[in-house]
């Protein structure tokens, strides 16, 4: 069993971040909160990597600073974590872009409302009258019909025009 040293605290923190992040991703019902939970989990994993190279009492792996005979920490995990952080940033930026687009199309990031609106979308595209009770919060208007070419999956890798947005988009803002 370990006593509560610095690395013990960091380790518990790292594991805690991963678990909290995983839990947050699983149970939150708002897409942006899911993304934030993911960021937490990624930080936990990054901490774990840095910790894997930590050496008690050693210095940073840069020559020309401090005592040249002192031991240095393992530099490899520091490189790995740099790579992992940059990868994480890229993925998160892309996720934000996706969320912006989703919000622009559906006007919500709440998972339940989103599902209702997507169902209504499909019903409209199929030419079926969407059941009024399907449309989320009472008092809100059903979605305007989405032009067919926006909701029918474009088959191939083909060219596509700019994606049209429902003209009343600002009315649907909560």
């Amino acid at each position: 069993m370990m006593s509560l040293t610095l690395e013990g605290v960091v380790l518990i923190g790292a594991l805690g971040l991963i678990v909290i992040g995983a839990l947050g991703m699983a149970i939150s019902n708002h897409l942006f909160r899911m993304l934030l939970a993911l960021v937490l989990a990624e930080s936990g994993a990054n901490l774990l990597i840095v910790l894997s190279g930590y050496r008690v009492g050693a210095s940073a792996p840069i020559l020309g600073f401090g005592d040249p005979t002192a031991p240095m920490v393992d530099p490899v995990p520091q490189v790995l974590v740099l790579t992992a952080i940059v990868i994480g940033v890229g993925v998160q930026a892309l996720a934000v872009a996706l969320l912006l687009k989703v919000y622009r199309v559906y006007g919500t990031l709440n998972v339940r409302e989103l599902r209702d609106r997507m169902d209504a979308d499909v019903a409209t595209a199929a030419g079926v009258e969407a059941d009024a009770s399907q449309d989320a919060p009472a008092g809100e208007r059903p979605l305007p019909p989405v032009p067919a070419h926006a909701s029918v999956g474009s088959g191939g890798f083909g060219r596509r025009g700019p994606v049209p947005f429902p003209p009343q988009s600002d009315e649907r803002r909560p």
């Binding site: 069993m1 370990m2 040293t5 690395e7 013990g8 380790l11 518990i12 594991l15 991963i18 678990v19 995983a22 839990l23 699983a26 149970i27 910790l51 894997s52 190279g53 930590y54 050496r55 008690v56 940073a60 792996p61 840069i62 020559l63 020309g64 240095m72 393992d74 530099p75 490899v76 520091q78 490189v79 740099l82 790579t83 940059v86 990868i87 940033v89 890229g90 993925v91 930026a93 892309l94 934000v96 872009a97 996706l98 912006l100 687009k101 622009r104 700019p162 994606v163 947005f165 988009s169 600002d170 803002r173």
Partner: protein, 229 residues
């Protein structure tokens, strides 16, 4: 039900990881590869910052992959957000104070960014860190004056050419010495600005590419996020 299952799952995960916690040797890593690199890197690569020596030397190929991931994310964000709607309105410009502050900060941030990039092989820092600072210079300008337009064309050229430069340096090494991304030009004198062979060049390429990439993502998001009301 779903929450319960997730709680159980998270509990299981925590338990699994915690049992490991008590068995791993923290603070005394095995350092099989690490200590060997610490021993040979100064002579082979010649960078005082050994992290940079690994990042651009021993694991330079990872770094290329990492650049590609950032590039893929920027490209994918472009795919998702597409082009700016012409009818969208922009945020109103910031006040006098904000604008003046941004104008003052801009050159400072650019200088600091290039400094961090150029000294990546000597001190903590390097292409990624400096590139982010460069991008931040443009963020600040864009936030203070949303009407200002970042040229997508220019960004595309910078990121394309910088990425190509990284690979071409690698191919140059392939032709010259038979190994992709092998260190060239000799290690030089440790601790000088012009040392460590091609490492500073690679740093510069990374810095420009990362800066252009992040600025590009930011410009896309700023374009997309023009509020309607």
């Amino acid at each position: 039900m779903r929450n319960l299952a997730s709680l159980l799952f998270a509990g299981g995960l925590a338990f699994l990881l915690l049992t490991l916690l008590s068995q791993l040797a923290f603070g005394t890593p095995p350092m099989r590869v690490g200590s060997e690199i610490l021993a040979v890197a100064p002579g082979e690569v010649g960078a005082a910052n050994l992290v940079t020596a690994i990042l651009l030397g021993y694991r330079g190929f990872d770094t290329l992959g990492e650049l590609a991931i950032l590039f893929a994310a920027a490209t994918a964000a472009g795919v998702v957000l597409g082009r700016r709607r012409d009818d969208a309105r922009r945020d109103p410009p910031g006040g006098e104070v904000l604008r003046t502050g941004a104008d003052l900060l801009f050159p400072l941030l650019v200088v600091v960014g290039f400094y961090v990039i150029a000294h990546g092989h000597l001190t903590p820092g390097g292409g990624f860190q400096g590139g982010v600072i460069l991008a931040a210079a443009f963020f600040v300008a864009l936030l203070a004056q949303p009407a200002r337009h970042l040229s997508h064309g220019l960004i595309l050229w910078i990121e394309g050419l910088a990425g190509a430069a990284f690979i071409l340096i690698g191919i140059w090494a392939l032709v010259a010495s038979g190994d992709f991304l092998a260190p060239l030009l000799g290690p030089g004198r440790m601790g000088e600005l012009l040392s460590a062979g091609t490492l500073p060049l690679l740093s510069l390429a990374i810095g420009l590419k990362v800066g252009a990439e992040l600025a590009g993502i930011m410009a896309h998001i700023a374009d997309a996020e023009a509020p309607d009301t």
